[in-house]
């Protein structure tokens, strides 16, 4: 499937290459550079570029192009999804994913890539498993490694890959057991010139940070689960249970993960007191000396509302089974502007 991967920075340097089958010359990237030149802007480089013998599929994140080389038919989303997973993994490992960080950690990066694909087919892509195989660098470990010459490679074998719960590493231990959930909703809206709403929808996610010992089995229930009709789940969520009872039942991965994301088509503003209409005011000033734009520009709004999920979604309770201790539980709500545009 995926033959090779090239990492290219915005000035057009290939600063990392990895091949999972026989080596593909980096000159194949010339086709990519051509397309890049034609596109003028990075975001307009076509994600799929055919060349005489290969196909280049790329994603652009953190000012880096991740260009995968493939030779035969494969669903493009398969490759694109994988590339995004690579970026997410790097971010998870190093905190940020940027050219200097990748260059600094080139060996870890290479080892991680080696484990993620076998002969171009994904092998271990869950970051819980990867971290068991290759430990992410921490300052302390870097210091220790330099002094003792010890390694980043986990010395036990990756038993997680054999488990029935492939997303969770085994033998997790914490002194403080905690589970935090963030319900974050974004409002996407287009408001037209006259102030009327053309579209408004809510995109929500529940991000979790779960640090629990052992193999906890969690259930999360909502006060108003019927709000959620268009959802997608982390693979850990038992789908049947959701279908039948509208309860999220899952054995969580260790650490940070996105439990669920949901999408609501209409945004119900709720009751608004007609005497006191809420209003947002702002002024726009042009840079001195700049010529007046041909047309009125669109304005992108940004705002945040803490401790409120605009859809009204409320978590009812979180229960834990399978372990004896009492975890510390927390939930946070937040609403922010997503792609909130006002046309003028």
């Amino acid at each position: 499937m995926i033959h090779s991967l090239f990492l290219i920075n915005s000035s057009g340097d290939i600063f990392l290459e990895k091949h999972w089958k026989s080596v593909v010359s980096r000159s194949v990237c010339d086709y990519f550079f051509e397309a890049q030149e034609r596109a003028t802007e990075a975001e307009n480089v076509p994600p799929v570029i055919p060349t005489p013998h290969h196909y280049l599929l790329s994603v652009y994140r953190h000012k880096i192009f991740f260009v995968a080389v493939i030779q035969t038919e494969v669903p493009p989303l398969f490759v694109i999804e994988f590339l995004h997973r690579v970026v997410d993994t790097f971010q998870d490992y190093f905190g940020v994913c940027s050219e200097p960080v990748i260059k600094d950690n080139v060996v870890v990066v290479y080892e991680v890539l080696e484990e993620m694909l076998d002969n171009g087919f994904p092998l271990a892509t869950e970051s819980n498993i990867l971290k068991e195989l290759i430990k992410p660098p921490t300052i302390l470990r870097t210091v220790v490694n330099t002094i003792t010459g010890s390694t980043n490679v986990g010395d036990q074998l990756p038993t997680g890959q054999l488990s029935v719960v492939p997303w969770r590493r085994t033998g997790v231990k914490y002194t403080n057991n905690e589970a935090y959930f963030d319900v974050i909703e974004e409002i996407d809206a287009i408001i037209d010139k006259s102030g009327s709403t053309i579209t408004a929808e809510i995109q929500g996610v529940i991000d979790a940070c779960v640090k629990l010992t052992g193999m906890p089995d969690l259930t999360l229930s909502f006060m108003n689960p019927r709000l959620l009709d268009d959802v997608s789940f982390h693979p850990c969520v038992r789908f049947k249970r959701w279908e039948s009872e509208r309860i999220l039942s899952f054995i969580p991965p260790d650490g940070n993960f996105r439990l669920l994301s949901y999408h609501m088509l209409s945004w119900d503003v709720g009751k608004i007191n007609p005497q006191k209409l809420p209003s947002l005011k702002g002024t726009m000033s042009l840079q001195a000396g700049a010529s007046k734009p041909d047309e009125n520009p669109t304005i992108n709004l940004q705002f945040k509302i803490q401790q409120l999920a605009i859809s009204g979604l409320k978590v009812n309770r979180l229960d834990m089974y399978g372990e004896k201790y009492k975890p510390f539980k927390g939930i946070k709500y937040m609403t922010k502007a997503g792609k909130f545009q006002v046309r003028t």
């Binding site: 975001e43 196909y55 080696e114 047309e295 009812n316």
Partner: protein, 992 residues
Amino acid sequence: MSAAPAYSEDKGGSAGPGEPEYGHDPASGGIFSSDYKRHDDLKEMLDTNKDSLKLEAMKRIVAMIARGKNASDLFPAVVKNVACKNIEVKKLVYVYLVRYAEEQQDLALLSISTFQRGLKDPNQLIRASALRVLSSIRVPIIVPIMMLAIKEAASDMSPYVRKTAAHAIPKLYSLDSDQKDQLIEVIEKLLADKTTLVAGSVVMAFEEVCPERIDLIHKNYRKLCNLLIDVEEWGQVVIISMLTRYARTQFLSPTQNESLLEENAEKAFYGSEEDEAKGAGSEETAAAAAPSRKPYVMDPDHRLLLRNTKPLLQSRSAAVVMAVAQLYFHLAPKAEVGVIAKALVRLLRSHSEVQYVVLQNVATMSIKRRGMFEPYLKSFYIRSTDPTQIKILKLEVLTNLANETNIPTVLREFQTYIRSMDKDFVAATIQAIGRCATNIGRVRDTCLNGLVQLLSNRDELVVAESVVVIKKLLQMQPAQHGEIIKHLAKLTDNIQVPMARASILWLIGEYCEHVPRIAPDVLRKMAKSFTAEEDIVKLQVINLAAKLYLTNSKQTKLLTQYVLSLAKYDQNYDIRDRARFTRQLIVPSEQGGALSRHAKKLFLAPKPAPVLESSFKDRDHFQLGSLSHLLNAKATGYQELPDWPEEAPDPSVRNVEVPEWTKCSNREKRKEKEKPFYSDSEGESGPTESADSDPESESESDSKSSSESGSGESSSESDNEDQDEDEEKGRGSESEQSEEDGKRKTKKKVPERKGEASSSDEGSDSSSSSSESEMTSESEEEQLEPASWSRKTPPSSKSAPATKEISLLDLEDFTPPSVQPVSPPAIVSTSLAADLEGLTLTDSTLVPSLLSPVSGVGRQELLHRVAGEGLAVDYTFSRQPFSGDPHMVSVHIHFSNSSDTPIKGLHVGTPKLPAGISIQEFPEIESLAPGESATAVMGINFCDSTQAANFQLCTQTRQFYVSIQPPVGELMAPVFMSENEFKKEQGLQGGH
């Protein structure tokens, strides 16, 4: 470990032993020599005994490889370390080896024996890793060794090693395609594997090596469908894509009957997005319209695929969602395809690359099935922050979705887009308006007027694009638009974009009779600027001149001759050519009279208006979601999506033979080995619910009866119903959930309960109720359910006179589909099914064998291995009286230890029992080694009640609360009696 510190650390190390050369040669300041130098020093580091130095060297070498630097000359030094004890060094050596083995084949062979040893290691992970590296070394000489290793690994006990074997198959195939036949054998073997870990990888191997061998899939089809939800995401994509192709060769088109009532269905479809869109009306029409056709009944296996993939629309992976969407698009009945729209629209929130691919597919789908995306029209509205390529794709979708009703809204949106600063996007919008105008006659004039207004836009590109589109629109009804053509003619003075100029000239030439005064003047101006024009414009000037010469030769004869003379000496040969050709044609000469007489007909023939079509039209002959579809060209290795067969191939090829007597043990084995984690535990080898489950068979027969009236629609509708019911059934089969399910049913039956839950919640949504109420309702269910069933099984009859019907129920997963199903009520809960299991007696089995222990039947889970920290406990009712106490039922408890430490001191602790129930504990199990299992027998006196016996299962370190609840059937003792005796007994009962 970072590159920079690594280097400095190495410098520190260079002060150590064996590094004197560093300062020796001051002349070696050049890049090349220092490079050479560094390699030398790396070699030395690799030769030392210190792991830390080796590691440092390997890190630097890998960093070189990552940057694309050549490190092949280090091969001999590196390969020596292949057997190094340090895991990280070893790993990095593997990385190096795989990268350079191809270039250094002879030296690479030195490492092979290490891997061969690894293949025999007792640890499965080492075996797997040895196979992985061995198979990645692309050295043809080791093909036989690889083949052998793959074959062995394919029979390995560990599923992980088998997975690795599956991965190795395409590697070997690409190295030596002559091995194909042998590899197919291995693939066949691995396809039969029942673990989710292997499924994705082996299907991948199948797709790369032998995608044409569809026959290998038959026997594994149902298993793959059932395992699908538990396979990891990447495997899911590959399996779904393969199954799409498979289904296209094995099943009949679900839309074959629909084509007749296309319109009808279409209307109903737009009406609502629900699956049940089709009303009774269309059914009747269908019945009337196609009385002669063979009614279409969906193959249960076809239905199985659709049903088992549907939940994956909620996957977090865009690739999986897209895979399911294309499966539904290509395989589902029209009425059901709608479900994918919502999921696809959700993906539009994802990364822009994902959006790009999804929109391409939506564009294709929206041409065929416009109704599907109409409710989501607004989701395709364009934001100024979208990248241009996304904007243009969204525009495409919006145009495809525009129809008579929504066109005003769409045009209003377009109006906003025209004011955008992104000029490429504006041009695309103008094209889109043109397409809307051609497709929807009602708005043609509005669009045309709008476009004419754009002609006075400040931006030349906008004007040019408008001209081009207006030209196409005018061709449709030129007569009414003399004014617009005049207006356009004036533009030639200002507009410079060649395409626009050419379009205007063509228009004037074509419709010169509408603008008789202006046309010659335009030609005059163009003749003046001819030499400075672009080629396409020059060609149109010649064209205009010719047409005017034919219609108005008096005014234009000289001008035409002038233009033709200029063109004759043009630099471009196309233009010279055209000029000669035109001159011969229009200017009458002595010889070529025949043609020139018809010149007018040739030039001024009425021309058909151009059709403005989406570039996505007919792209769906490529499988959606594929690379080929995206490129609109066949990619290497693309597997054509076959057309539906006329006649369905034999469906029995998918039946999996399970000999009667192995059924129980088979099922048991499965539970022991690899219990699918989240999927319903439906028999993976069982035939598709066609006969095994009651609700299904009921609706199945339903659909048959209704389809006898000749309607394909009705069958698809009832399919929906049985889908729902099936889902319910599937849920029920998970033992833990069957209780909850029962609870819901009870709630429906006992409306007062509902009051307890919050008032806004209804029915099934009252999930927030506490666990206490669950307990109560469960026991209620136990009382209620059998009652509803009592007409069939009199609970009083101790020695169950089981009829044929009941035995069918018992066979659950394994009844072959040929058996005619019965139609009991759809509300049979699994606990009831379990009850019946205990009652099973058929004529054929009414032999003493019944009295022997039937240990495999009905193994139930007491403690899941996840909850039990590796300790998994199952129990079965052995159906023998307990030796210690005749009032007790003997229960076999099976322990297995899947953790990696021994479990010690297994015993029963402080039971908390309801009145009357007593327990005879099993003797303490002292120690259970990892991987081992043990069985103990305990006796429970349930006191003829179905109350649960709750007790604790203790190990040395932990306590688990468990509970055994007996199905009614297990509380009865089997009695052997003849028919006469039985009748007598029955008579007695009746008497009471």
